[in-house]
């Protein structure tokens, strides 16, 4: 590389026109020579650093390649293990397949969100920030760790209770007023009973898992048989309202609530209210007895009453 010519040209560009008029100013020329040497040295240093940079770049690139390959391998193993685990879970609980379907779908969505196969396959990760990845991984971990206990829990908590409610034989609506709102999702005729059976879901579904089946009793057609499956995870809309309509509407409700899971919550709430009232009464009594004026007034009133009684 011929650097000197380049350097000379650049130096010429910096020359002052006044210097050309006075070429006898040698010190300036000397300065020019020393500057060109410095720049030449710098250029050489730059050249060396460029080659070092290239080497470093090659090294990091090869490291990146290795990392990408390792990541792809780990991903393959991870997904293989994941599918194996899912297979095992589905074998262990075939009856819970329907319950697990939404969870699986959600997990697939999370995988799609993570976008690992795409990012890893091409080795391009520029579009995803590490914080987001970390957050998504945390979510995924939580999802994976929470999945089984949640399903098992809801499965274990599925309680079945039956309630008999008197109903007019002319009423074919199969409606049982129990304080909760229901959505009918099906009706069918069963072999053992001439009356159809209606299927309801709680209006809070899918967050609330409770289902209800209502059918007129085969033995006594004046009764409706309501079978509840599961426990409400919320309060009924009319549970604590004091209006007359809800009270009237919940005449059969009491039966249902006591038998169903919501009854426990209602009883607990009533107990809490009772305890609160007791505490309030005790506080009032203690504050009154501490008040000497009140005690004196009470004593005077009682003694006055006694004196009046003795006079008469």
């Amino acid at each position: 590389m011929d650097c000197s010519s380049f350097l000379d040209i650049s130096l010429d560009l910096n020359t002052n026109p006044f210097d050309r008029n006075f070429p006898d100013k040698l010190p300036k020329k000397e300065v020019k020579v020393s500057t060109s040497a410095d720049l030449e040295r710098k250029w050489l240093v730059k050249d060396e650093s460029a080659s070092e940079l290239r080497e470093e770049l090659n090294r990091v690139n090869s490291e990146n390649k290795k990392l990408t390959e390792m990541l792809a391998t780990v991903c393959e193993k991870y997904y293989a293990l994941h599918s194996h685990l899912e297979k095992l879970q589905s074998r262990q609980s075939p009856e819970m397949d329907q319950t697990e379907q939404p969870t699986k779908k959600r997990k697939q969505d999370t995988d799609e969100l993570l976008g690992f196969p795409i990012g890893l396959g091409s080795g391009k990760t520029e579009n995803s920030s590490s914080n987001e990845d970390h957050h998504q991984h945390e979510q995924k971990n939580q999802l994976l760790s929470c999945k089984r206990p949640v399903v098992t829990d809801s499965f274990n908590k599925a309680k079945i209770s039956t309630v008999y409610v008197p109903a007019d034989s002319s009423d074919t609506s199969l409606t049982v007023k129990d304080g909760y709102q229901w959505r009918k999702y099906g009706q069918k005729v069963t072999r053992d009973n001439p009356s159809p059976r209606a299927y309801f879901r709680c209006s809070f579904a899918p967050s609330c898992p409770v289902k209800k089946k209502v059918q007129r009793s085969a033995e006594d057609p004046s009764l409706l048989v309501a079978t509840y499956e599961g426990t409400h995870n919320h309060l009924g809309p009319n549970a604590f309202e004091g209006d007359a309509t809800s009270q009237v509407g919940s005449s059969t409700v009491t039966l249902d609530l006591v038998n169903g899971g919501g009854g426990h919550r209602l009883a607990l709430e009533k107990n809490e209210r009772g305890t609160m009232q007791d505490v309030l009464v005790q506080q009032m009594a203690s504050s009154l007895t501490k008040d000497s004026k009140f005690t004196a007034a009470l004593a005077a009133a009682i003694s006055g009453r006694l004196l009046e009684q003795s006079r008469t």
Binding site: L53, L57, V74, T125, S130, H137
Partner: protein
């Protein structure tokens, strides 16, 4: 200009390297979580 371009490229590749390392660590963690679930 060549040097600055090289420096920029090196920065980019280094950042990519860092992300890949983080992702690899996370994937290893996830893999271990799964393995524990199986065990």
């Amino acid at each position: 200009s060549t040097t600055s371009a090289l420096v920029d490229e090196l920065k980019r590749v280094n950042a990519e390297n860092k992300k890949l390392t983080e992702m690899l660590t996370l994937m290893c963690d996830n893999y271990n979580v799964l393995r524990k679930q199986l065990m």
